[in-house]
């Protein structure tokens, strides 16, 4: 397994990050500015700062084909940034009509819409209206009972999964006439007018849902929540109980985000600062390991090889044992909570590389 590619960008938390389709541009939230980094050999150099939001930016997403960037912030606004011919970025304000902070934003795979989750118990589905030259937002309200922590799109760009602080993961239809094509019937339903609730799932403890995701085929849903569990749901058809709901309780700290890398594998990352791998299918799921496992034992061995003389000398000089730096450093690559986990490179068989962004100001690219 190739060593992870670590980019330590700054000393501030990264709420969200996104790579462009050619993976040469990296957009990172830094307090209330959006920073754009350009790849320069093996490193990323700061190239542009997009200013416009008054408060902390909570979400960013780059549309892979059009290159448009959407950001949302605690100032209750979203901006769509478009590249202009002069190399400048032109922001367009999107009125979300929410009275609480926006928490997360994602483009639909069709790139004609995006969804913004918010603390106002609303998901704003935004689409562009040509006649008015303006982004319109339509609200998904019912039956959200609390802050929306995360949103994820189904490959058909109509179904949207959302995880909320009321402990539920839900699947909604965000069908907008004139924007979307009528979706193919699927396990989630056939007729899907706007705000149809296609599924509503509660985890056993009703802990906050931090991350949701559809499997690559869109026929299964996974969510991770604040009770250190991940739950995978296999629906059987519209208006019917799901064929399987599998909840895996782990011994770890909670996960903040998850990513399906194939139909039978999920990666999760969160408060343990590590990326964990789960695998399974409708009959059951289990934790199968971590992406960091390789090389870790070697590092620990080096640390042990320390003479008694050095030990007592450092105890005498510094008042503690150990060589200084190591006892303030975690054994993991990330030195703090991982906030987001995203697909970086995909091949026919699934995701090959993933990127993580964390509270420690690092963006790390991992080979799966």
């Amino acid at each position: 397994m190739a060593a992870p590619e670590v980019h330590h960008l700054f000393h501030a938390p990264i709420a969200d990050h996104s790579f462009s389709a050619d993976r040469n541009t990296l957009a990172v939230t830094h307090s209330n500015t959006l920073e754009l980094y350009k790849r320069n050999g093996n490193a990323f150099r700061l190239q542009d700062e997009l200013r416009g939001h008054d408060k902390t930016i909570t979400g960013v997403d780059i549309a892979p084909r059009s290159g448009r960037i959407v950001t949302c912030s605690q100032d209750r606004n979203a901006y769509v940034w478009e590249p202009s011919s002069t190399g400048q970025w032109k922001p367009t304000l999107v009125l979300l009509r929410i009275n609480r902070a926006a928490t997360c934003v994602r483009w639909s795979p069709s790139e004609t819409k995006f969804a913004v989750g918010s603390g106002a118990r609303i998901i704003a589905i935004c689409y562009f209206e040509e006649e008015n030259d303006w982004w319109i937002s339509k609200h998904l309200r019912k039956p959200l009972r609390s802050t929306v922590n995360c949103v994820a799109w189904h490959p058909n760009s109509v179904l949207l999964a959302a995880g909320s602080a009321d402990g539920h993961a839900r699947v909604f239809s965000s069908f907008i006439k004139g924007v979307d094509d009528r979706p193919e019937p699927s396990v989630w339903g056939e007729r899907l007018p706007f705000n149809t609730v296609c599924g509503e799932y509660l985890n056993p403890t009703a802990g906050w849902v931090h991350g949701v995701g559809f499997s690559p085929s869109g026929n299964a849903l996974a969510f991770c929540s604040h009770d250190s569990t991940i739950t995978v749901v296999y629906p059987s058809g519209p208006e019917q109980p799901p064929q399987a709901v599998i909840s895996v309780a782990t011994q770890l700290l909670p996960f903040a985000d998850l990513l399906w890398i194939s139909e039978s594998e999920i990666l999760c990352a969160g408060y343990d600062c590590e990326v964990y791998r789960f695998s399974g299918q409708a009959s059951g799921w289990q934790l199968t390991g971590s992406l960091e496992a390789a090389g870790k034992a070697g590092a620990a061995g080096v640390q042990r090889e320390e003479s008694a003389l050095n030990h007592f000398r450092s105890l005498d000089l510094k008042g503690r044992s150990g060589t200084g730096a190591d006892d303030t450093k975690l054994r993991t690559v990330h030195q703090n909570t991982i906030n987001t986990l995203r697909s970086y490179e995909e091949s026919g068989a699934g995701v090959r590389k993933v990127s993580t962004g964390g509270v420690d100001g690092r963006v790390v690219v991992w080979t799966v």
Binding site: R145, G207, P254
Partner: protein
């Protein structure tokens, strides 16, 4: 109007659709309501098992049938049963019992329930001796009657007996965390089905 601090106005109360105006208990997973009499009957059975020498079976029974839907009195009766059993089990037996429990079916959930009782027990001070009496006393004690509301309301498990109970709970906690990791502690904190 001028002397009202408008920043302190609760705007949620004024909006019909706000979260302030709906019943938060609808968010919690449905729990079966359990009457106090049922809890009492159950605790009788469990004590019988324990007296018969089957502490492990008694503990398992108590944890699998934890009355999440009982009222405060019912819950404190069950808590005192659980802590009684925990105290009956010798230190050397703790780890094997936990191992068997964790590896059985639904083991993770049973261990989470045990963790809930450990924390509840620690919050109570000296649970075995005072839990039941506390619950009944609490209603009779009025602030005027004693004048020592703080002292009356909280019991620090004073004296030898309390310390003993606490050390039992702590050693159970240590052994349980070794097995189930911090995940179980997080689950206890986030779970809305309280014991």
């Amino acid at each position: 109007m001028a002397n009202i601090n408008w920043r302190t106005i609760n705007i949620d109360a004024l909006e019909a659709e706000s979260s302030y105006n709906f019943d938060l208990s609808t968010l919690t997973p449905a729990v079966q309501p359990v009457s106090t009499a049922d809890v009492q009957a159950l605790s009788g059975q469990i004590r019988q098992l324990s007296r018969g020498g089957d502490n492990e079976g008694a503990l398992r029974g108590a944890l699998e049938n934890a009355p999440f839907g009982a009222d405060e009195q019912g819950k404190s009766i069950h808590l005192s049963v659980v802590t009684e059993i925990l105290q009956n089990i010798r230190q050397a037996e703790m780890t094997p019992i936990l191992q068997r429990m964790y590896q059985s079916e639904n083991g993770s959930e049973v261990c989470d329930t045990l963790m809930k009782y450990l924390y509840k027990g620690m919050a109570q001070g000296a649970p075995s001796a005072n839990a039941t009496t506390n619950a009944t006393n609490a209603r009779n004690v009025t602030p005027q009657a004693t004048g020592f509301t703080q002292a009356g309301g909280r019991n620090f498990g004073g004296g030898e007996g309390g310390g003993q109970a606490m050390s039992v709970l702590l050693s159970w906690h240590e052994k349980l965390v070794e097995m189930v990791g911090p995940g179980s502690i997080v689950r206890v904190m986030s779970d809305r089905r309280t014991v």
